[in-house]
């Protein structure tokens, strides 16, 4: 027996040794802390409320969007995500009886202040809509240049048209027919044309309201690929009903429900381990 006690079992378990060889470790159940960019946010939204008449559609939303990143807003119909998006370039107030209150800062400057001209704001914050809406009577070229002309922006429009069509990944497909009608393009091409039109006035922020919901999967993939490229230059906020799309394109995801911002966080976290039960229920399909 004495001799036996001197011999210890061979390799009881590589993972849980009987004789602990483990070096003491600091256990961090949450994993490494995310690397926080030192850069100040591009967009800061503080206590944003919005109404349609007496209907209080958005309740005190607070969030920030870092520069050159994509934020996706998700949530069921009527949750306030589109209202939120439309507040960001003051399109919300175009609806009769609609109003918004709160602070919206771009690079620290308040853009909801009454001193700011909405037209100037919309040059800095461009918008792309759900259905491609090129100007039907205009050529491809004129569609892109429309915003420049409207804003009285001087300069070589041809150069800007080419640059923005390249940025929106449409140039190679339309360079030989710039004077053709915008309606000669496919739905996906029309949507990229609308993105080019929004980019021509050199905005800083690009808002996208379900930009691919009317498109087939291939055209959708092209838009999503484009979003990845545009992110290098622009700050993007996208509203989408397609949660997989939010997962594919965004860095952060904001979940809205019944006018409240329920949760905002890194997209990976929202789709693997959200903090709020309502977010969990929504992304796993337990609503209604």
């Amino acid at each position: 027996m004495n001799a036996a006690q001197e011999i210890s079992p061979v390799n009881s378990s590589p993972r849980r040794p009987v004789d602990s060889l483990d070096t003491p470790v600091r256990v961090s159940p949450e994993g490494p802390a995310p690397v926080v960019a030192a850069e100040p946010p591009k967009l800061t939204v503080k206590n944003l409320d919005a109404w349609y008449g007496s209907n209080h559609a958005l309740h005190g939303v607070n969030l920030t969007v870092p520069p050159r990143s994509v934020m996706a807003a998700i949530g069921p119909s009527g949750c306030g995500k589109s209202t939120f998006l439309r507040c960001l370039n003051r399109m919300h107030e175009l609806i009769p009886g609609a109003r918004a209150e709160g602070t919206l800062l771009i690079d620290g400057q308040d853009l909801l202040s009454r001193d700011v001209d909405p037209v100037t704001l919309r040059r800095r914050v461009g918008m792309v809509f759900q259905r491609p809406n090129p100007f039907p009577t205009m050529s491809i070229r004129d569609n892109v240049a429309a915003g420049l002309k409207l804003n009285g922006i001087p300069g070589n429009h041809h150069e800007i048209v080419e640059r923005t069509l390249r940025q929106s990944a449409l140039w190679d497909e339309v360079k030989d027919r710039l004077d053709a009608s915008a309606l000669s393009l496919s739905g996906g091409q029309q949507q990229r044309l609308c993105i080019a039109r929004a980019l021509a006035v050199q905005p800083e922020v690009l808002l996208m309201d379900e930009p691919a919901s009317a498109l087939d999967p291939i055209a959708t993939a092209k838009i999503e690929d484009l979003i990845h490229e545009l992110k290098e230059r622009y700050t993007i906020v996208i509203v989408t009903h397609n949660m997989q799309q939010a997962g594919r394109v965004s860095d952060q995801t904001a979940f809205f429900y019944m006018g409240d911002l329920i949760e905002v966080g890194p997209t990976e976290k929202i789709f693997t381990n959200p903090s709020e039960k309502r977010t969990e229920d929504y992304v796993t399909g337990k609503f209604g």
């Binding site: 378990s13 993972r15 600091r26 949660m243 209604g288």
Partner: protein, 235 residues
Amino acid sequence: MAPDTHTDKVYEAELAQLRDRLLVMGGKVEAAMAGGVRALTARDPALAEKVISGDKDVNRTEVEIDDMCRRLLALRQPAASDLRFITTALKIVTDLERMGDLAVNVAERALDLSHSPPSRPFHDLTELADLSASQLGKALDAFVERDVKKAEEVIADDDLLDALYSRLFSDLLAYMMEDSRVIRRATSIMFAAKQLERFGDHATNVAEMVVYMVRGTDVRHPGSRGGEGAPVPTV
């Protein structure tokens, strides 16, 4: 507000079916190891043969569960707790299959030993078998009940299993030193004991995945994610 079930009832049923198949597989593995140990202690070669042939069924269930998981991932694009549940299923099915193999190993030793004269009983072997079986049972309960506390108990109790194995190991060594004629038999028992100890390790793996599934935090291998939690260098 929202009910705790998926709006899509077919999806809900598919997830429930996956959980049920895993439990059935866990039950088969539990029974296989119990059978292997009984065949060993009761010197029952017929039972040992039954355990060995039964492993095909366990393997089939593994393939079936793998297919279910792949189908769910491809067709449902699961998120959040559903995603964690399915990836957990994919991982623990491998542990369960391996546990089935360990039961087969024990059954093979039982066959071998049934041809030799009986050796003296080792109380610790039975205890080891009971504890490793209860570890799997508890891990599976934790999985079904999404019970982190129970899973953590399984993780902690693995040390008991290791201590028991260590004691049995020493006992068997002493037994062999006293009488060299028993070396062959004692080595077989030692081998079987090792299978039980490993069985417990796999139960611990299952429990660790349950913690991940419920909490979304990985409790395995602290420090292996980035620099955080890495061993603190001692000067």
